[in-house]
Amino acid sequence: MTSLAWLIPCALALSFLGLVAFLWALRSGQFEDLEGASWRAIQDEEPGDEDSKPKG
């Protein structure tokens, strides 16, 4: 019974972390271009073209 006192908050905190991560990803536009993202990974960047990370 005492183990519940810290196990439950732990479980809740972990899943809450997941929720926060999801909301952050949504807000920062990670789901905006799902098709394009898969192409970007295999794209050859030209030298000096470093501005290719997603913006916040």
């Binding site: 929720l19 999801f22 098709e35 970007r40 794209q43 960047e45 073209d49």
Partner: protein, 739 residues
């Protein structure tokens, strides 16, 4: 369900007063032919290479690129020109339609995330409690778990359930029922009763059921919204590309291309044949016919000569005119465009989607079942609490989760599959109407054929002559010249622009070479007696003093036209060709494609009459067309398709637009539409089958709300999994109504 599309008015821009603008602006440019990953890189690099551009990020899903630039160094038109030089057709996005719809989808996704988080945790606690009943969990631990569930579930439901509560409240205020009324009732009752039982410390606590219900329903709602966002985005992209720039004639006679929103009263605007007139105005020069059908509903074109008024949104059909803008309130044009889209969207407003037809029967049935369960158990004398628990179980079990998912899940899968094959479905109910088709009517020019001339007698022209002709033709943008260049390139010939090419508009091209002069153009330009008879569709080429050579052009059939028509015939579709072209050309095309049923020289109103006659025979017609004269027919047909090369109005009026040279997308669209309708009905069968089994059990009191929630989840998963099969399956073309 259908929200009307509204275009936000463009922000007030003060022309010529750039110092009042902020230093940097971000615009969204629509790029029509962004099709693959490497396009994104090319587009971004081209924009970043343009002076004044701070950043550019392309989205392949939306076919847009978001550009941030310095107002002092550049302007959107320059960015569009830069993309044009790289080979991409771009236009500035017109309004916030897409943004607001996308924001709505994002909002649903956020609520979905919260509901998912809560559902996972509540289920975790709930399963422990139900397992604890069988083992040795004491009452105080169960109470603790119940209170924790309440703490997680209630705020989550209050937040995540809002879309349903609002919609139900709206429906009730208007004194009718929709699906959201039983949904809201079920969720609210289950939550309220669970809270009451938690306070009393009993076992009848069903937060798990309430939150799972919310979660699954939100999935369906989100998928539905996503299909709409995609459809609307596609429609808006088309509008932005085709309608919103104008050729303005300056004081010095020079023509500048301006964004339509930058137009002001008093400007003189040149409108080419086939273009939409961007302003309300008065004709200054030229005489033409104007198609007002999409504004006034009249199908007979109106004459417009010098001094006549013309309206924004009408289409100039015959020859180029110059219009002086009178009322170029930028909102007029945008309002007109919004009206066109609305007309296209609402043209089939009477069509009731399968899901809505089901909902109409379903919502009252759920209420009656729930109420009679409550009444029945009260009469049987089990007490109010127990009766209410049974009634809630009925509400939850009948809750249309699987029904709410049945159609959206299939539509997402179908739209995704079609999108990957270059078909953009614009109308939300387009697939459903496509699945009911039994007759396919094609237009000729630009639909069955490529819509651009190609060199017909290329085989009789030798390489050297062709290369010489191409070296002139490459300097011109005339369709015949382009055809010559294309043929030369296809043969792999090497040629460069001839030195000092001059173009005489309406006549031809000429260049001086070592042994005389090369000329490419009309018979009189080359010095040939026209009586020698080359027909209308021809050019002449003379190299120095050599004998002139005739180049003949024709509008070729699309390469797979005959195969597509054959496949349609084989599957039992009736195929017709209705064209406004003259009989000879139509007969040739019909024979080439294998269509027996053809008619020529049909005017736009004649096309509508033909479609109406077919409708009266009980046929469901798919119109495939691209021309301005097809637009009314596209809107009148049961379903319609346009190639992406079609006139703007036609694309607006059609349900789906396909890209590429091949005609095969017509078949693919029919296949996927048929399959998706079959799957939607399969999904309904799964959902209803599950209800038939579980509702009597629930009414008899054998099902607790928790079991109801689990059963409901299973049926939802079954329905979604069924829909996903659509993605990669090989489909067969089968005709007819699915019942």
């Amino acid at each position: 369900m259908d929200r009307s599309l509204t275009l936000a008015p463009a922000p007030e821009t003060d022309h010529g007063a750039s110092e009042t603008l902020p230093e940097t602006t971000t615009v969204s440019l629509i790029v029509e032919n962004m099709q693959c990953g490497s396009c994104m890189g090319k587009i971004e690099r081209a924009l970043k290479a343009t002076p004044g551009v701070a950043s550019a990020r392309a989205s392949l899903t939306a076919r847009r690129v978001s550009v941030t630039f310095d107002n002092r160094a550049t302007e959107p038109q320059k960015l569009i020109d830069a993309l044009d030089r790289t080979g991409y057709r771009a236009a500035e996005s017109v309004g916030s339609v897409d943004e607001s719809a996308a924001a709505r989808a994002d909002d649903l996704l956020r609520r979905l995330g919260v509901a998912g988080f809560a559902a996972a945790n509540v289920m975790l606690l709930s399963v422990s409690v139900w397992a604890g009943v069988a083992s040795d969990m004491d009452q105080s631990a169960a109470d603790l778990f119940h209170w924790l569930s309440a703490l997680i579930a209630m705020p989550a439901i209050a937040y995540a359930g809002q879309p349903f509560f609002r919609s139900a409240a709206t429906a009730l205020r208007a004194r009718h029922l929709n699906m959201d009324v039983p949904i809201s009732l079920g969720i609210t009752l289950a939550t309220a009763m669970s809270l009451y039982q938690t306070m009393r410390g009993t076992e009848q606590v069903y937060f798990d059921a309430a939150i799972m219900l919310t979660f699954f329903l939100l999935i369906g709602r989100y998928l539905d919204e996503k299909v709409r966002v995609r459809a609307r985005g596609a429609a808006e992209n088309l509008l932005g590309l085709k309608a919103l720039s104008a050729n303005v004639v300056g004081e010095d006679g020079a023509v500048r291309r301006l964004q339509a929103r930058a137009l002001a009263p008093g400007m003189r605007i040149q409108v080419a044949a086939g273009e939409r007139i961007p302003v309300d105005g008065r004709v200054l020069s030229g005489a033409t016919h104007v198609d007002t059908s999409l504004i006034t509903g009249e199908t007979v074109p109106r004459k417009a000569a010098i001094g006549d008024l013309v309206h924004a949104g009408t289409v100039n059909l015959a020859t180029a005119i110059v219009v002086e803008a009178t009322a170029t309130d930028e909102n007029t044009l945008l309002a007109d465009i919004a009206r066109l889209v609305q007309a296209a969207e609402q043209g089939r407003g009477h069509y009731v989607r399968l899901a809505d037809r089901a909902a109409r029967l379903y919502a009252p049935a759920v209420h009656i079942l729930g109420a009679s369960t409550l009444a029945g158990w009260l009469i049987a004398g089990v007490g109010f609490e127990q009766s209410l628990t049974y009634a809630i179980a009925v509400l939850i079990i009948t809750c249309p989760c699987a029904l709410a998912l049945a159609v959206p899940a299939v539509q997402v899968a179908a739209a995704g599959r079609l999108f990957a094959r270059g078909i953009i479905v614009k109308a939300a109910d387009g697939l459903e109407r496509l699945s009911e088709i039994d007759t396919v009517v094609f237009d000729k020019t630009g639909t069955l054929t490529r819509g651009e001339p190609s060199l017909a007698n290329a085989a009789r022209i030798d390489d050297a002559t062709l290369a010489a002709a191409a070296s002139l033709a490459i300097a011109s943008r005339h369709p015949y010249s382009r055809a010559v260049v294309r043929t030369a390139r296809e043969r792999g010939l090497a040629f460069v622009v001839a030195d000092g090419v001059i173009e005489q508009p309406g006549s031809g091209l000429a260049a001086r070479v070592a042994h005389g002069e090369r000329r490419l153009g009309s018979a009189s330009w080359v010095g040939v007696d026209d009586a020698e008879g080359a027909g209308a569709a021809s050019l002449w080429f003379r190299d120095g003093t050599a004998a002139p050579i005739a180049l003949r052009f024709e509008d070729e059939l699309r390469s797979d036209a005959a195969a597509v028509v054959g496949a349609l015939h084989a599957s039992g579709y009736r195929v017709c060709l209705i064209s406004g072209d003259h009989a000879e050309a139509v007969r040739d095309a019909a024979e080439g494609a294998g269509i027996d049923d053809w008619s020529a020289e049909v005017r736009p109103d004649g096309k509508i009459a033909r479609l109406e006659a077919m409708k009266a025979e009980g046929r469901r017609v798919l119109m495939v067309g691209d021309g301005l004269n097809d637009a009314p027919a596209l809107a009148a047909a049961h379903a319609s398709l346009s190639p992406s090369t079609a006139a703007d109005v036609s694309q607006t009026a059609s349900d789906a637009v396909f890209q590429g040279e091949a005609l095969a997308p017509v078949i693919e669209a029919l296949k996927v539409a048929g399959a998706s309708q079959r799957m939607a009905i399969e999904n309904f069968a799964i959902a209803i089958g599950y209800n038939i089994v579980s509702v009597p059990l629930a009414m008899a009191g054998y099902v607790t709300p928790l079991i109801a929630a689990l059963a409901m989840s299973l049926s939802s998963i079954a329905v979604t999994a069924n829909a996903l099969r659509l993605r990669g399956r090989t489909l067969a073309l089968t005709r007819g109504k699915v019942r």
